[in-house]
């Protein structure tokens, strides 16, 4: 199975990436290789193996519904490139 140039362009668009013609070519080859590598897993016999729905063997890791609030608002906003009125300021968003 190969990843076509069109698919690379589509994925790049979804990821908001601008790729050059050369990069599209390269990623198309790289992603095809990755996919082929991952496809090797298909050759494993899984007849007696149950379905895995998560990569981690643990399950039911929950938190109690209790409020813990000890965060400094200034600290949360300190790395914002731009802020105002206690909010992150970003370029105007139009719907």
């Amino acid at each position: 199975m190969a990843i076509s140039k069109e698919e690379v362009i589509h994925i790049a668009k979804l990821a908001s990436l601008n790729l050059t013609e050369e990069e599209i070519e390269r990623y198309s080859n790289d992603m095809t290789e990755i996919l082929e590598f991952a496809n090797e897993i298909n050759s494993v016999n899984t007849d007696n193996v149950g379905e895995t729905i998560a990569a981690n063997e643990k399950y039911n890791v929950f938190r109690k519904d209790e409020i813990k609030q000890n965060v400094d608002k200034e600290a949360l906003l300190q790395n914002a490139p731009s802020k105002d009125d206690g909010m992150f300021r970003i370029p105007k968003v139009i719907n």
Binding site: F62, R63, K92
Partner: protein, 479 residues
Amino acid sequence: MAREDYEIVMGLEVHCELSTKTKIFCSCPTEFGGEPNTHCCPICMAMPGTLPVLNEKVVEYAVKAGLATNCQIARKSKNDRKNYFYPDLPKAYQISQFDLPLCYEGYVDVETPEGEKRIGITRIHIEEDAGKLNHDEYGRGSFVDLNRAGVPLIEVVSEPDLRTKEEVEAYLRKLKSIFEYIEVSDCKMQEGSLRADVNVSVRKKGATEFGTRTEMKNMNSFRSIVRAIEYEANRQIDVIENGGVITQETLRWDDVSGKTFSMRDKEDAQDYRYFPDPDLVEIRLSEEYIENIKKSLPELPESRKKRYLEDMGLTEKAANFVTGSKYYSNMFEEASSVCGNAKSVSNWIMSDIARILNEREEEPDELKFSGKELGELVTLIDKGTISSAIAKKVLEEMFKNPEMPSKIIEAKGWIQISDEGAIKEVVAKVLEANPQSIADYKAGKDKALGFLVGQAMKETKGKANPQMLNKLFLEELNK
């Protein structure tokens, strides 16, 4: 072809905020309001290196919602990432559920003008809310407040079983009512804790294939949902009638202009690249866990309705109306136990209380008085302390100022005159001023009595005891 030749096919995605104390994946409070970015922490702000941990109450509430809507409960479930870019979504993905939702294959029965109708529920899954964007009028940019980011939601996806706007409203009210009863959400539409996206398509009656559908977002009142459906169905029919084709797209409903607007173009058609969130582990629910939640469910509207019909003597219509909202139902039960007159209480709820709420454009959850006050009001009428005309005025007053009715009538001087001497005086006065009515009555016009009673009511500003007035007038007239 005319509009009547088309059928509207609708499905709903209802987002309902769960009333847990904390967010879905961190311990920040979910409380509404608050200064921007004060209900936040590194987790819900998506700082690198943080890890989410699922709130156990979110699972419990979602399972409750599923059981109350006749759903199957998944024994194995998981969280998935839904990827998209929007500035109110700090991680650039929303943690949601894709192929293994907590609840699936349920239904609710709703009342329609044609009788009861079953609406299928495809699934209920848990997910996190996004933040809020604020825009200012000076064009300085947009401002991100992440207080809502990470607030737990359930999304209830219906089957495309809805055909009319009345059915949509009935279905939504039913969900709202159920979730209020089981206390998993306060369902306040005005605060955005219940929101609906509607998928709409049209097809010629008798057609078996569905038409292309559009999805309308951004609706948070029953009124705007109903208006949006009307507008969008008509728009689609017009397009088809003019030889056009419906494009599958997401539309934003604008309440001010009363129109829908395209949000994203087809090219970007939803490709969310869902995949299991590797930061979270599998959810496994045991039979015992599900059984315990089932046992903890409070009495649901269906069962209350049965009790109202069988034990409290309400009519089908009254029982449906009162159980339609937890707030009405609780008020009804409390007021009935106070005054012992369930029928009268249900009538007050169905007629005057519902009418005043409607005039005020409010929902039953916004009622400021309780069954205690309503019960006393009915007692005061039954004891003859006030007439029902005065009681209506007292009720209006209770909406403005939720005090005990006895206090209101005392402050306003509205106590009914039941003193025979005082009423005799009024009767004499009215008879003297209206000789023509006496003549009319004697000539067999019974209506004249009503007129005289009306005059006496006017004279006493509605405070005279009507039964006593009637009796004394008749005594005088038949002398």
